[in-house]
């Protein structure tokens, strides 16, 4: 029993980190209808930038987020503007899939050139500290990461719900043509959306780098999980993404603790396939994908 509850706690904390990473993915899909295969690479890029700032200037990894996020925002907006915007055609969704994959490779290539391929971890003094609550261990960094995720997700929800930009995004998501008629500039909204999605990777990267070891090609593992999460959540649904991420964290941790770690990711993929069998649109996906 103790083991089960410890696994659930761990799964929720891990799920929180994944929710943060996947929220950017979901936002990008919602706005652009692009499956962003570069999201994992953006997270790893952020982890490296954060690590460099920490090692060279002693900036606390959590405080690197406000520095790294704008940089990734610009990068993301540039990717959309220069590489994805020109694609718009009937089969843009297939082509963009491959272009974002190329972006992921490009980022990986640059990271390999600059940082080499050895593993590294961001090691602030508190990286390995943990609290004991009622006999259960809770890693400080993991809890902080989970809180940061909640904060970023809350900010995203506010941004989409309360601002002019958010209204423009939602209008674009629901009906691009009507939105354009109403004066929403689709390309600009798309660039902002991709930029914003990339910026969330900054927060995710700092956290990821403290909790796990990473190297330039860690993004392949990330992307497989992120994709499963966003599909399970219903592509484009922010709330669905959070639920799916937490579900993935808990299912994997439970299977890992109670059955065997070799089946933990597998079990999640099976859940995903089973859900798709019943609901091809995912848990929370509307058939028309009306709301973000």
């Amino acid at each position: 029993m103790h083991e089960t509850i410890q696994a659930i706690i761990l799964g929720l904390l891990t799920g929180g980190v994944y929710a943060l990473m996947a929220s950017g993915q979901t936002l990008i899909f919602g706005v652009l209808k692009v499956v962003n295969l570069a999201q994992g690479a953006l997270v790893i890029l952020a982890a490296y930038l954060s690590s460099s700032l920490f090692v060279s200037f002693g900036i606390d990894p959590f405080l690197t987020v406000p520095i790294v996020a704008p940089a990734l925002f610009l990068l993301g907006a540039a990717v959309q503007w220069c590489l994805l915007r020109p694609l718009h055609r009937s089969d843009a969704s297939q082509l963009s899939l491959l272009v974002t994959f190329a972006v992921a490779l490009g980022i990986e290539g640059v990271l390999t050139l600059v940082y080499k391929s050895d593993y590294r971890t961001i090691q602030p003094s508190y990286a390995n500290r943990s609290w004991t609550v009622a006999g259960y261990r809770i890693g400080e960094v993991r809890l902080a990461a989970c809180l940061l995720s909640l904060a970023v997700l809350g900010a995203l929800a506010l941004l989409l719900g309360r601002t002019r930009f958010g209204r423009a995004v939602r209008a674009t998501v629901q009906n691009p043509t009507a939105a354009r008629l109403l004066g929403v500039e689709g390309d600009r909204v798309a660039a902002l959306g991709y930029g914003l999605g990339a910026a969330t990777a900054a927060a995710a990267g700092a956290v990821y780098g403290m909790v796990y070891s990473f190297n330039p090609n860690s993004h392949y593992d990330l992307i497989s999980r992120l994709l499963s999460i966003v599909v399970l959540g219903g592509l484009g649904s922010l709330g669905g993404t959070v639920v799916a991420a937490l579900a993935m964290g808990v299912v994997s941790a439970l299977v890992g603790a109670l059955i065997s770690p070799v089946w933990s990711d597998f079990s999640f993929f099976v859940v995903l396939l089973a859900v798709l069998l019943v609901r091809p649109q995912g848990l929370f996906g509307a058939r028309l994908r009306g709301a973000l």
């Binding site: 590294r120 004991t132 890693g139 593992d221 065997s260 770690p261 070799v262 990711d265």
Partner: protein, 436 residues
């Protein structure tokens, strides 16, 4: 470190394995393999010189001795591939400075396999049938060793290989293959079992746990140690295989801690070794004794990834260390630091393994006056040959008959501690730093 860098080895292809250390390199890497090629294709980046010294003609009366080698120079394990490259090049420049092998200048033809088995076959085909190299050395990463060794065998080439020590390599029963490390990888943990069994009964642990990475170069090590310790009456209370993509080993450590083992013997590569220690530190649980087969034997990267304060007391084993008294080692260390800078402790054992292949060629040439493949194969199969890795002799399948050295982190340094004749410090039996 014997395998730490076997690059691709561990790499699990597809999206698996984040943490899995070396483990994950593979799949990923192949993507780059394709990438690589295409890239080159697309850009015709001729500029990116292959780092290989291409066989240049010239060089006096006697023809050069060309040696073809395929290494994983791009991709996940490129750092370790480069370590191998340094070892080979250091040997070549050393031997050339002394007049070459039998008066023939050594020229290395090093190509990149981008960690793909398809590419490694193409590379050895090219080296042997297109470039007509005189000799070949094995590829850097061990999963590629099997297909590469088949090509070498087909053309009757001796196959000195520093990286492929898994069971699959030896079960091919290739007479032309020589694994240039002290013993098959499976036996890497034997030295730790020897040490435990050498302890007086009062100090011996009574229970043990065996977590291991699902990898041909990790889990067999733990299994081998378990067999021996179990036979000696040390009870197994926990064993678990975890996959390379398990970034987070907290659940493994939680389950293991619940069984309260005295001893943990982990079959690890690199990232998973870090993850295991991190999880233990975070959960504030430590066994009395901790052995990690790889990862902890990497003085460059281990402290940075687990925290320098957490290393003391951890055991590992290795094939080579800078202060070894093996044949030619001090000269090797001096030459290495002179050529590449840095401290002796920053030398990767991979460089020493690669250098040792060269030593063997030199020794055979000195003894027989010949450097052809048939002579190499038949000569190496008899007698014992001194290298940086120790004195090696091989069985008919290419497995060497020496043993690894037990190392331990003591006072922030990685020191050989067992067996006594190779130890530079006595093993320290104390609490692990985070055990509170």
């Amino acid at each position: 470190m014997s395998n730490r860098s076997r690059g691709r080895d561990t790499g699990r292809g597809t999206g698996r394995g984040t943490a899995g250390g070396t483990a994950r390199g593979a799949g990923r890497t192949r993507v780059r393999a394709a990438a690589a090629a295409l890239a080159a294709a697309g850009l015709a980046l001729a500029g990116c010189s292959s780092s290989a010294a291409k066989p240049s003609a010239s060089s006096g009366a006697r023809p050069a001795l060309t040696i073809g080698i395929s290494l994983s120079l791009t991709g996940d394990f490129s750092d370790s591939g480069k370590s191998a490259q340094r070892g080979y090049q250091l040997w070549a420049s050393t031997v050339n400075a002394a007049g070459g092998v039998l008066g023939r200048k050594v020229v290395l033809d090093i190509v990149d396999d981008t960690s793909s088995p398809t590419q490694v076959v193409t590379n050895y085909q090219n080296l042997i049938t297109k470039n007509h190299v005189d000799l070949v050395f094995g590829p850097f990463s061990s999963l590629l060793t099997v297909p590469a060794s088949q090509v070498a065998k087909r053309y009757g080439y001796a196959f000195l290989e520093p990286a492929g020590g898994g069971p699959a390599v030896f079960s091919q029963h290739l007479h032309n293959l020589f694994f240039v490390q002290p013993a098959p990888v499976v036996q890497q943990g034997d030295v730790f079992a020897d040490y435990i069994l050498s302890l007086p009964a009062s100090q011996r642990p009574t229970t043990a746990a065996y977590p291991a990475l699902d990898d041909p170069f990790a889990s067999p090590i733990a299994a081998e140690v378990r067999t021996r310790l179990q036979a000696a009456g040390i009870r197994t209370v926990y064993q678990q295989i975890y996959p390379a993509e398990a970034t987070d080993l907290s659940s493994v450590v939680t389950a293991m801690a619940a069984k309260k083992p005295d001893l943990v013997v982990a079959g690890t590569q690199s990232a998973d070794a870090y993850a295991l220690v991190k999880a233990m530190v975070q959960l504030k649980w430590a066994p009395k004794l901790l052995y990690l087969s790889n990862g902890a034997n990497d003085p460059l990267n281990f402290p940075g990834n687990v925290g320098a304060g957490n290393v003391n007391g951890i055991f590992s084993s290795g094939d080579w260390f800078p202060t070894a008294t093996t044949s030619g080692n001090s000269a090797f260390v001096a030459a290495y630091t002179a050529a590449y800078g840095g401290a002796a402790t920053s030398i990767d054992s991979t460089s020493a393994e690669a250098y040792s292949c060269g030593q063997l060629v030199q020794e055979v040439a000195a003894k027989t006056g010949k450097v052809d493949n048939a002579t190499l194969i038949s000569t190496l199969h008899s007698g014992s040959w001194p290298t940086l890795e120790g004195d090696l002799s091989w069985n008919s399948d290419g497995a060497a008959n020496a043993s690894y050295v037990l190392v331990q982190w003591i006072g922030g340094k990685l020191l050989p501690v067992f067996p006594a004749d190779r130890a530079q410090s006595a093993p320290v039996l104390g609490k692990l730093p985070w055990s509170g």
